[in-house]
Symmetry: C2
Subunit: 237 residues, 2 copies
Amino acid sequence: MNTKRHRMAADDRRSAILDAATTLLTDQPWEDVTVAGLLDAAGISKGGFYHHFTSKDDVLAEVVLRLSDASISAGEDSLSRCGGTAVERFSAFLAHSARWELSHAAKIAAIVRMAMMEGNGPLFVKLGEESARRCLPLFKALVRDGVAQDAFCVVDTDLTAELLMHIGRMRWPTFLGARRIFADGQRDAAWRMICDRVRVEEGLTNRLLGLESGTVTFPPLTEYWLVLDAEWQNEAP
Amino acid sequence: MNTKRHRMAADDRRSAILDAATTLLTDQPWEDVTVAGLLDAAGISKGGFYHHFTSKDDVLAEVVLRLSDASISAGEDSLSRCGGTAVERFSAFLAHSARWELSHAAKIAAIVRMAMMEGNGPLFVKLGEESARRCLPLFKALVRDGVAQDAFCVVDTDLTAELLMHIGRMRWPTFLGARRIFADGQRDAAWRMICDRVRVEEGLTNRLLGLESGTVTFPPLTEYWLVLDAEWQNEAP
DNA sequence: CTTGTTTACAGACCGGCAGTCGGTATGTAT
DNA sequence: ATACATACCGACTGCCGGTCTGTAAACAAG
């Protein structure tokens, strides 16, 4: 009773809770996040919490949506805005995505760290499902257009799109690895790791699309310096 | 007290519990499997159970090992037994694996069903990790040898191996899809789905390895008829 | 056949967890 | 002022994973 009763707009309260959950998730696997802890972090009572969410997992689902939405939306509308030939479109899409990712490096790093954390299987799977649900169609469309224009020559549209997405999914975990190496003082090795990764992705992308190496292009390597350069909070110990 | 005390050899008891867990897992996600339920299914008390396992998750870990070990071991020693050129070795490995899989279709199907079940993220992830831990090195070795012999021309050994494994991982989920379609009466469509899948895998494998289509070969399509033909228990409702 | 020791097992018990419920405060419309 | 809706509270419940104390079976030694 001594606790003052803060009444907030439903949406504000929801996002406050979601924020708290996201924060907790940065250094705890979801299994270890308790509703009590979440209540504490969000400054609300159990009754209040269950007025806004139906279950603990309900919160996770929303968190996943919030985490993935920004990046996926960016991809979706970058795609809708690039024209030209299939090859140009593909390269433009790659460039837009890369730039968006690089300018949100800290946030992406945090998400990847969460997803890769021990005991966070559910989060990892849900994020994967969500990105498959929304990103795969993008890649498929891109590939299909190229095939229709006789620009690409793929073995199979769907599997090719899936592999392209799979490659992209493993990019940031690799970047984080480089980042760690960089922090260890092996700066050259770290930078080489990043350059290699990008070059390899470009090579594989062209190969999967049935193109000469260098046809579809990734942004210039120098842009990726941001991966190592950016100041991030919450670095792993 | 009225319960008779069955005293068993430790190993027998362990595997009895593991069997029970595996059975429960066929129609329940791991989250929903309770220790009490497991106790009941295995016919043992709590004290007995915790004498053999340190935790519920300990059981899952063991189950994962048991599920994955047979197939992975088969792969490992089939690899060790095939000689010849890199291309021959690769094809032989593919053939051995395919035949082993096809002759254990029911079991594989059950495992895949478990892993793909809603709310079984942890199982899915753990199985993936285990197969990555043991299968990836196989693929890497295969690819590396081919490159060393100038037989393969890959963009990057490691990523190529990873993609090859990823393709393989998605094979049986696809087969199960075909199986469902088959059960629905669309027999031709189901069979076409399987043939397409195998052809596409073969095409992509050759492309990733930098080979002319048809160089590395999968077993003849007719062998895959077993996917649809075999009598399996526990078909999904 | 005793005795002692180890090992497999039993089941009462515990702390903590997610989720519920009756009730209370804080608006907003009439 | 009255009535209704909505945000919120915290005691409570039921269950679940895990521990603990104790007991019965197997085995070894004398």
